[in-house]
């Protein structure tokens, strides 16, 4: 690892520690070691709400459910919208209108429709992940060069062959980019959704609960975990993108 890359993180940690000692008030800024103590004991029950690990897993499970749902609707719909102008015309305006609404603006409606609990949270995550997945899928389908479709036609391919063997493989890189962005937004949405009234588990809930008890060490520990998981999610999907789609550059030029 390049030494320059860890200069700023180390400097930040040192600054944090010095500030914490100087302030001497853990309700505003706990010292580094207090936060580390929370992080290295993930199986310790915290504040009677389960362990850090349990709460993390609850959040991950929620994200996965909402994200998979968004992919299961967004990818097929995106392929159809990108390929069939009729379907594009049918959905276009609705999607363009709904897209700019931030997921959190849906919270009151979600609570009214689905009540307090899992379904509402799932809905918020779904909304967050859905649009980037849909839009990137559409862009992927439209980005498949026309010549590749024409080649298939002159080789005797039928409509269904073109969809399955040209359009879908050709748009996969873009679909995966959409999934990666969608996963990132879903992860942000779950934390926000768990801060809603009625939530009783998850990292977002734990943050708010620890805050109400002035346990800033737990708050910061949760934030660090959220950051790390978000990073791993992004890097993991990016890795697949780079590995599976070396040919992407060929398509672009």
């Amino acid at each position: 690892m390049n030494f320059r890359k860890i200069v700023m993180p180390l400097f930040g940690l040192a600054l944090w520690e010095l500030l914490a000692i100087w302030l001497n008030n853990p309700v505003v800024l706990p010292p580094v070691e207090e936060v580390i103590k929370v992080l290295i004991n993930p199986n310790l029950s915290i504040l009677g709400t389960g362990t850090l690990l349990e709460n993390t897993l609850v959040s991950i499970k929620r994200v996965l459910s909402g994200f998979i749902l968004a992919g299961a609707v967004g990818v097929p719909l995106g392929i159809l919208m990108g390929y069939y102008p009729v379907i594009m015309d049918l959905f276009d305006i609705v999607i363009e209108l709904l897209r700019p609404i931030p997921p959190l603006a849906w919270v009151p409606l979600a609570l009214a429709w689905f009540g307090i609990g899992e379904t509402s949270m799932l809905f918020i995550i779904f909304i967050g992940a859905f649009f980037p997945i849909l839009l990137n899928t559409i862009a992927g389908v439209k980005g498949v060069p026309k010549i590749l479709i024409e080649v298939a036609q002159t080789l005797g391919a039928k409509e269904m062959d073109i969809l399955l063997k040209v359009i879908i493989p050709g748009s996969l890189p873009s679909i995966l980019t959409g999934l990666r962005i969608g996963a990132g937004i879903a992860w942000m949405c779950v934390v926000a959704a768990e801060m809603l009234p009625g939530s009783s588990a998850g990292l977002g809930y734990l943050i708010m609960y620890a805050y109400s008890l002035s346990r800033m060490d737990v708050v910061i520990a949760c934030m660090i975990i959220i950051g790390i998981i978000g990073l791993l999610l992004d890097r993991g999907l990016r890795y697949i993108e780079d590995r599976c789609f070396k040919w992407k550059r060929y398509l672009i030029r």
């Binding site: 024409e150 391919a157 996969l172 060929y250």
Partner: protein
């Protein structure tokens, strides 16, 4: 009947926003079975459009194109096309690119790979079966495109300036190999190029087109035994003749270009 293709009074008009462009104007000619026919003309004369019409990728505004007596209504496997460049499926390796046509036509895996391998060998791509297009040079990519079209066993092979983007050496080699394959496989080839030399080297007949709107200016049979020597007197005489016919047209298309960019 010895004509595989009949192009009858074909015109093609392109309409964009507030402009109409007549690309082809009343073009009529025949293509014989097993013939190697080239079409040359100044850029923008509609020669590629003509090829796309035969492929069925475009529809004529008026007139009709018949293949073996039947009117062409759309693209089909009996008319294979080799495009100018970058037409390979980048997510498929060479073997699966070449086998694509056989795959969509439902040929079983073992058989289609067998056929694909034969054409890979014929086009000098042996050893590159597993390579992906982005790993290949332009010349190799064009070999794959040719192998893919031929493996599908079309009756007519349409080639749209397939060697235009290649360097001179590669181009010469591929021309030579294309002729060998053509002689062996007994195909009908319609070959579009802007290189007069290439057309004379390859073809039984050369169609010379006018500047836009594209009309047939002349059809010249090349009566030379193959393999042809590019520096033989007869070859150069053909070249001089066709270049002369083309000269006025190239000038016209250049002036058209000048007017459209300066005006």
């Amino acid at each position: 009947m010895d004509n595989i293709l009949e192009i009858r009074n074909v015109s093609k008009k392109f309409v964009s926003k507030n402009k109409e462009i007549l690309a082809l104007d009343n073009v009529t000619f025949d293509v014989k079975y097993n013939e190697f026919l080239s079409i040359v003309g100044p850029s923008g004369c509609g020669k590629s459009t003509l090829l796309r019409l035969i492929a069925g990728l475009e529809k004529p505004t008026s007139g009709e194109i018949l293949m073996e007596g039947r009117r062409i209504e759309g693209p089909g496997a009996e008319r294979g096309m080799v495009f100018q460049q970058y037409s390979l499926y980048p997510w498929r390796n060479v073997l699966n690119n070449v086998a694509f046509g056989l795959e969509v036509r439902g040929i079983p895996k073992r058989e289609r790979y067998e056929i694909a391998r034969r054409f890979i060998k014929m086009t000098g791509l042996e050893g590159f079966e597993e390579a992906y297009p982005y790993e290949l040079s332009g010349g190799m990519q064009q070999r794959v495109a040719i192998a893919r079209t031929l493996a599908n066993d079309p009756k007519v092979v349409l080639m749209d300036e397939p060697f235009a983007a290649l360097d001179v050496q590669t181009r010469t080699i591929l021309q030579h190999e294309l002729l060998k394959i053509w002689e062996k496989e007994k195909k009908t080839v319609v070959f579009v190029t802007h290189s007069v030399e290439e057309a004379i080297y390859l073809s039984d007949r050369v169609i010379v087109m006018t500047a836009r709107p594209g009309r047939i200016k002349d059809i010249i049979p090349i009566d030379l035994p193959r393999p042809r020597k590019r520096d033989s007197l007869e070859f150069l005489e053909y070249k001089r003749r066709i270049v002369n016919i083309l000269k006025d047209e190239v000038l016209k298309s250049y002036n058209m270009y000048k007017c459209s960019t300066m005006g």
